[in-house]
Amino acid sequence: MVRLEGLQHRFGQQKILQGINLEVHRGECVVLYGANGSGKSTLLALLSTRLTIRVGHYFLDDIDVNRYGDMARDRLLFVGHHTHLYGHLTPVENLLFFADLRGLDLSESRLRQAIDAVGLSRSADKPVQWFSAGMRKRLALARMLLAEPLLLLLDEPYSALDAQGVGWLNAMLNRYLESGGAVIMASHDPERVAALPHRPHHLARGQLSSMALPGESEPC
């Protein structure tokens, strides 16, 4: 469902990514490992369309993302270090804003359901600015329940989450994968990812190589 062909990226003179090839199918989770500055975040930014791809191809659900970025953004959701939340709005208002920007027509009870599901029902009507980092992260992840994307891009999803939050996130991701979604995540936390069926990849010197299960991914 996701296909990357020869993806390259550079910042000025520095080559960050040099020819990334990757295929991810429905129900699959690919985890990217790599040192800081190895280009994990850049790769996710390219996949989220935040950065424009100059060299290489990216297909999502058979859409050529380089051409039809707006259409592709409908089908993917990116959750990174930033939660993209507005402090002066309540969780319900934040989710409503998100839903409207995505063109989702959702009732308020549906929004509250999602907030309940991430365990924030007691704070559903308080401005987000008083929330802890963990609560913000949960709220950011609650969007995934609303958006039902085809592809979920996660940058260090476990950071700021406590043990309970990690268990809850993994349960949610498992359900998501079973329902046919695909996940690409950057992490340096193999223990927490262990609860998910996944394919680990290693990113170094701008090249991607599969780690544990050789033969299944294409040679890089």
């Binding site: 910042f11 000025g12 003179q13 520095q14 960050i16 040192a35 500055g37 100059r54």
Partner: protein, 232 residues
């Protein structure tokens, strides 16, 4: 950018020769019976005013090319043209003031041309400041290119609004004085043409030198960045 290195010397010599010829003509030209010797300032003022605008045109084209094709060379030329254009604009204002003092009796008048030139100088300055106030050089280059294009669209609007403003409001004496600056004819014309050509060469030469300097500085910055972060 290699081409810049090749053309720099011949272009410089050509500029020097044409400036010398132009200067000799100006020296030979008769003083204006109305304006006296002060008229000679116009030989600098008029060509530099032309160059101030021509540089902006150049800058706009380079900016469009940079946004469209993402050639770094176009961005370097745009940055160089900004500095050169600002220099010519400043020269225009200064020579205008020096000419204005004996002719109008004041250093400055809010006449349409001078006002537009002053606004142009601020726009050039804004472009220079914007480029260097963004930490990411690529973002700075893109933002500057977009601003340059917007300024390019704005300049005619600024010019016409100032002209309307001055003509609908101005005491007529200044408008007449303003007109006297364009009525150059007869024996005054050849040196003006030669100097206009010389200033175009001078502008190109300045852009060449400045572009090479900018390119060298960027390469140094890249080397410095690579030295600081050898892993990336």
């Amino acid at each position: 950018m290699n081409i810049l290195k090749k053309i720099q010397l011949p272009l410089g010599l050509l500029t020097l020769i044409s400036l010398a010829v132009g200067a000799w003509y100006v020296y030979q030209a008769p003083a204006d019976f109305q304006q006296g010797g002060a008229v000679r300032i116009l030989y600098v003022h008029v060509p530099s005013a032309k160059m101030a605008l021509l540089s902006y045109l150049f800058l706009t084209v380079a900016s469009v090319l940079y946004l469209w094709k993402r050639w770094e060379g176009a961005d370097i030329v745009a940055e160089a043209a900004t500095a050169v254009g600002a220099a010519f604009t400043a020269l225009t204002l200064a020579s205008g003031a020096i000419w204005g003092k004996p002719m109008w009796g004041t250093w400055w008048a809010w006449d349409a041309r001078l006002t537009s030139m002053l606004v142009l100088l601020i726009i050039y300055k804004g472009l220079m400041v914007l480029r260097h106030s963004l930490d990411d050089p690529v973002k700075g280059a893109r933002a500057t290119a977009i601003l340059a294009i917007i300024g390019g669209v704005d300049l005619p609007i600024i010019h016409y609004s100032v002209v309307w403003w001055r003509t609908l409001h101005q005491p007529p004496s200044l408008t007449a004085a303003e007109n006297s600056s364009v009525h150059i004819s007869g024996p005054l014309l050849p040196p003006l043409l030669i100097l206009s050509g010389a200033f175009i060469l001078l502008g190109l030469y300045m852009v060449t030198v400045k572009a090479r300097q900018i390119e060298a500085r960027r390469r140094l910055d890249a080397l410095e960045a690579a030295r600081m972060h050898p892993d990336e």
